[in-house]
Symmetry: C2
Subunit: 330 residues, 2 copies
């Protein structure tokens, strides 16, 4: 027997229309399109990220967590660009055997994060698939005109900073896949970071005000630092010993130092890596403290270099190898 | 052996970056996000539609046609809202066994339609899937502020008009699925309409200038007319004998009159159904003629009705039944 289904229109009306209530331009999801005004002096920042079952999330994840991850990976991009969240569109693909209860839980996850991060549904599409569940989101944010923070603005002598802690998600995935054993509390901490990114939305205003360049760390610290340096035409170095780690990650690495290379090379941190001039570090730190978000200076940009190089160095100044720099789950 | 693959970054650089060349805010697809300016006095119209192999297109369709269909179903929504195309984001999911040649042909299809319809790639994501190929597009257009044409603006005594011809795509799908036999030329004509919608982009300015309400016909003429009337709180009638048909559709229906019900109820026409006051019909007709797009008056809106009813009537004034009003391929 098929699970209960209100049908496509019924599900939109019942579960998704309430998510659009805060965004008048969505017209209650009753039209073919939404309309969006950009205030004078501002610009729209837009980003698109999709997640697919078995690739970007665990098939065992609940629908609410899947929804929140889909939204949060996009919110993370907006935050790294210094943009305030405004609205998003969603395309959701599920099998015909997925019942209303699953959709309701998915929408409830979105509702929770919409309220927390201040974003609303503007429109979308729902399709059926015989393959894995997937969700594709395009998210919209606002910045003052000309002030979107790019990857390419890093300047010589910038301080390199990262938010939060690095490596938890990569270790959490290793735990979930049975490649790493930790105690129950650390398991929850690490797997939780893999399952649900923490977009640094509340630091976006400070990134916009102070950063020369920024990127959200999704491919791994080493890889994304490389992307930023190459786009900016600078070389950079990060001191490995200064990379912020959670207590759970620190314990795992203490027990098995070889894991450090997964911390540097693994992905899914969804922290912000940014560069800023030295005199911007105090106001950035103050903004991070006010937002309750960790922010740590980990390195510097070195010299203009047409063949930009990235160094991860240990306390003796030696270069550290990265196991899997630039892993991508395409 | 796996087919050749440049990898995700290589494919973006080689095949997709050229598609973003006309849209400076895309930053050459080298950043996490794009930036988009909306000129003063204008608003952004946004729409999202995804297509999935085996649901919205035939597994035998070539990659270029798949790409163009994905873009065109979104362009059709923009046209119905009276919006000029501006940019779009794309999420594309293919299997790991899909080689570079497939991606190159997909991008070539986009390039062709971008040039024809005047739209550029602003950003996107590519993911791998073990399931069917799919593409999700969010498209952006511009309208003068407050002038997006909705479904809900129809007024009493409006003329109801449709662009192009109705029913070809539904008959084309029937041909493709072996449910309908026609000669080779008609087969090409009908299947072609199913495979590649013809968005009425070049009529968007006239829709914006003159229509009270509009919708693109994707669920079927009867169903979408119902959507428009209900949203507007009016009743409406369409004279079946006035519904424009292509020569191929006319021949098929002459041979098998029962097909008429598929014309009325079938989907994927991607024509525009609009309502306008009688005095706007001449300028609409002139604009359609100038654009080389057929435009036919097929009915009228009747009376305000809280329980809006839609009538399809024959030449004797009798109501015509529709086989599958509102079929949806969710």
């Amino acid at each position: 027997m098929s699970p209960a289904s209100l049908g496509e229109f019924g599900r939109i009306a019942r579960f998704f229309r309430p998510l659009a209530a805060e965004f008048p331009g969505a017209l209650g999801l009753t039209d073919d399109a939404a309309v969006l005004s950009v205030p004078p002096g501002q610009e729209l920042v837009l980003t698109t990220d999709a997640i697919v079952a078995g690739v970007h999330f665990l098939p065992t994840d609940g629908p609410g967590d899947i929804a929140r991850k889909a939204l949060r990976v996009n919110l993370s991009d907006l935050a790294a660009k210094g943009a305030r969240p405004l609205a998003y569109t969603l395309t959701l693909a599920v099998g015909r055997d997925v019942g209303d209860a699953w959709i309701e839980a998915f929408a409830a996850g979105l509702a929770e994060d919409q309220a927390y991060y201040g974003i609303a549904l503007a429109g979308g599409d729902s399709v059926s698939t015989g393959g894995p569940v997937w969700a594709s989101i395009t998210a919209f944010g606002l910045v003052d005109a000309g002030r979107m923070v790019t990857r390419s603005g890093a300047q010589l002598g910038d301080v390199v900073l990262v938010t939060g802690t690095i490596g938890d998600a990569a270790l959490g995935l290793a735990v979930e896949q049975g490649r790493l054993a930790v105690d129950a509390a650390d398991r929850d901490a690490l797997v939780g970071r893999y399952r649900l990114p923490q977009p640094r939305t509340y630091l976006a205003h400070a990134v916009a005000a102070h950063a020369h360049a920024a990127i959200d760390i999704s491919d791994g610290l080493a890889a994304d630092f490389g992307h930023l340096c190459r786009a900016s035409g600078v070389s950079g170095r990060i001191a490995v010993s200064r990379i912020p780690q959670s207590p759970a990650a620190r314990r795992a690495i203490a027990a098995s130092p070889a894991l450090m290379s997964q911390v540097l090379g693994g992905g899914d941190d969804y922290e912000i890596l940014l560069t800023a001039p030295a005199n911007a570090v105090p106001p950035l730190m103050a903004a991070a403290a006010a937002a309750g978000i960790g922010l740590t200076a980990v390195g510097s940009t070195d010299r203009a270099d047409s063949d930009a190089e990235v160094y991860l160095i240990d306390d003796d100044g030696n270069r550290v190898a990265v196991e899997k720099a630039g892993w991508t789950h395409s």
